[in-house]
């Protein structure tokens, strides 16, 4: 059920400002406690939103990573990557 953990993380970026700041400054440390697979963790920290989407992550929630520019996801970067995913 770690896709649910990812989706929760995305919403915590919106909800919890302290967590948001940790995600902006040191996402590896901020997510170390989460029960993610290695593949999920790598994709998250790389900002590979196409891969996360393919794993079942919710796109609307994933957008919070871009809204708050977490894991290198500025709008141009997010946009190009998610548009490469299969709808």
């Amino acid at each position: 059920m770690s896709v649910l953990a990812l989706d929760r993380l995305f919403r915590e970026v919106l909800r919890d400002r302290a967590f948001r700041e940790r995600m902006q400054s040191d996402p590896a440390a901020a997510t170390a406690h989460l029960d993610l697979t290695d593949e999920e963790r790598q994709a998250l920290l790389a900002g590979d939103v196409a891969k996360l989407y393919g794993m079942g992550a919710n796109a609307f929630l994933m957008g919070y990573l871009c809204r708050f520019e977490v894991c290198g996801l500025t709008l141009p970067v997010y946009n190009e990557r998610i548009r490469s995913a299969r709808p």
């Binding site: 649910l4 609307f60 929630l61 957008g63 946009n79 709808p87």
Partner: protein
Amino acid sequence: MGEIVAAYGLPHTPFFPWAVQRDGPESQTAQLFKRARDSLEAARPDVIVIFDTDHLNTFFLDNLPVFAIGVAEAFKGPNDEPRAVPPYTIKSLPGLAAHLRERSVHAGFDVALVQDFEVDHSVIVPLHFVTPDMRTPVIPVFVNGHIPPLPSAQRCFDLGAALRGAIEQWPEPLRVAVVGTGSFSLEVWGPRIDPGKSDGVPDPDWVQEVCRHIRDAQIERLVAAATEQRMLSAGNVAGELLNWIAMLAFVADRKPDFLETQLENGHAYAGWRWS
């Protein structure tokens, strides 16, 4: 006895309050909302029932009702930080809300109960524009229009019809306005967003088709056309059309007083007032 006096279909685009602040009261978006606001003021409702799709802020993927009714003295929002929207506390009518839920459950709709809740931009943005003083009580009815499997369009229409009957059975005089809010074609943060943007309108033809059915008061045709596959192919939040369809059950065969699209946003504004 409760009386339905008006109905509206409205968008809830989260950046519209900021855009209207920037572009002023003569901007298209401000004018379209003003049309609904003027009509709503003339309708003098005692309560507004709003059909809305929560964007995983009132509920979440760990606990996600297909239908729910908010039963509370008041609720707050928005809880998702849309720009240029102040925090609001909105009064409600818990007695009427509980009555609506009871009647809908007895009519065969398994509507969840939510009593201690906040709402996000999808409820607050339309209210921010059409009832900015927030003096009119509001009852939110939540419809899952985002996370498949979606309820069918017929089911949402029938829920609207059941709630309409429940309002008409309310023992005291009460003027009720109904709002359905959402887009007909919109992808947000998903693969079909436009280059350089956070959203896109994958199927503007569907928007036109939906509006044609509404304009012609051919709601049965709209309900038949709005399959889950058809809606989801129009974008990952295009199931918000279900909120309009539930609202349209209150309108019966009336044609709208106004219906205007913003095709570039995949949505429309519509109003009906008859009492």
